[in-house]
Amino acid sequence: MTEKKMGIINRCLPHGSAHGRESLDLTLAMSAFNESISLFFIGDGVYQLLAGHSPADILQKHYQPLFKMLELYDIENIYVCSASLRQRRLTTEMLIIEVTPLAREQLQVKLAEQQQLLSF
């Protein structure tokens, strides 16, 4: 049994599907067993971190506050695709947690470093 470098990729909008929420559930649970987790937010996935959701209006769970738990759970490698932010006219200051923005090439390097990837 050896702990693997695990990358968890988030590509979906926060609501409309449970991908975002179930990815975060998985991330927080896995962190109890694996200290080598990196998170990636790519494409529409960046919207999961954008402040100001009120999903109760559409009968969805407001899971966004749980992103604050990442820090408590010592998950510090949180990477956001800077091109995805730019395309959506977003900046890291508009996001609810501290992240590391990466250009496409840097993102490829980080993804290649992972031994296992899960994508949601």
Binding site: E22, D25, Q116
Partner: protein, 133 residues
């Protein structure tokens, strides 16, 4: 290299009907075991938990994926782990949970078992390759 045996853990996130995710995962497991590789276990998450329902009842000339999973897992002795929180939200319940939640029915198919995400961590650590469908 040809005879090298690989130990796979598999994550299934698609329902047994309506998307190809779970049937591809099943075919992968069947092909891998046939080729002499090992399946450390299959973890069912998101819509994948519906693969564990014994109420899935397709027409007789169609594939019953829960049955196929059960047969393959018994033949090659690997566990079928179902994420409990994802399962309960989607109405997949074992006898113990049904009792605890005062539900009249349970529907978890044998040999699927409800387990936590910790089990996924174990499958992740205990394999050469983790493959998600």
């Amino acid at each position: 290299m040809d005879n090298q045996k690989t130990k796979f853990s598999v994550v299934v996130t698609g329902a047994p009907y309506g998307s190809q995710s779970a049937s591809s995962a099943y075919q992968f497991c069947a092909a891998a075991t046939l080729a002499g590789h090992e399946i450390a276990g299959v973890f069912f998450y998101q819509e994948g938990v519906l693969n564990a329902s014994q109420l899935v009842s397709p027409a007789t000339d169609e594939i019953n994926l829960p049955d196929l999973w059960a047969t393959l897992a018994k033949q090659y002795q690997f566990p079928l782990e179902v994420c409990v929180s994802a399962a309960l939200r989607r109405g997949v319940v074992d006898q113990q949970e049904a009792k605890q939640l005062s539900l009249a029915q349970f529907n978890l198919k044998s040999p699927f078992v409800l387990s936590g995400l910790g089990q996924l961590a174990e499958l992740s650590a205990n394999c050469d390759r983790l493959v998600q469908f």
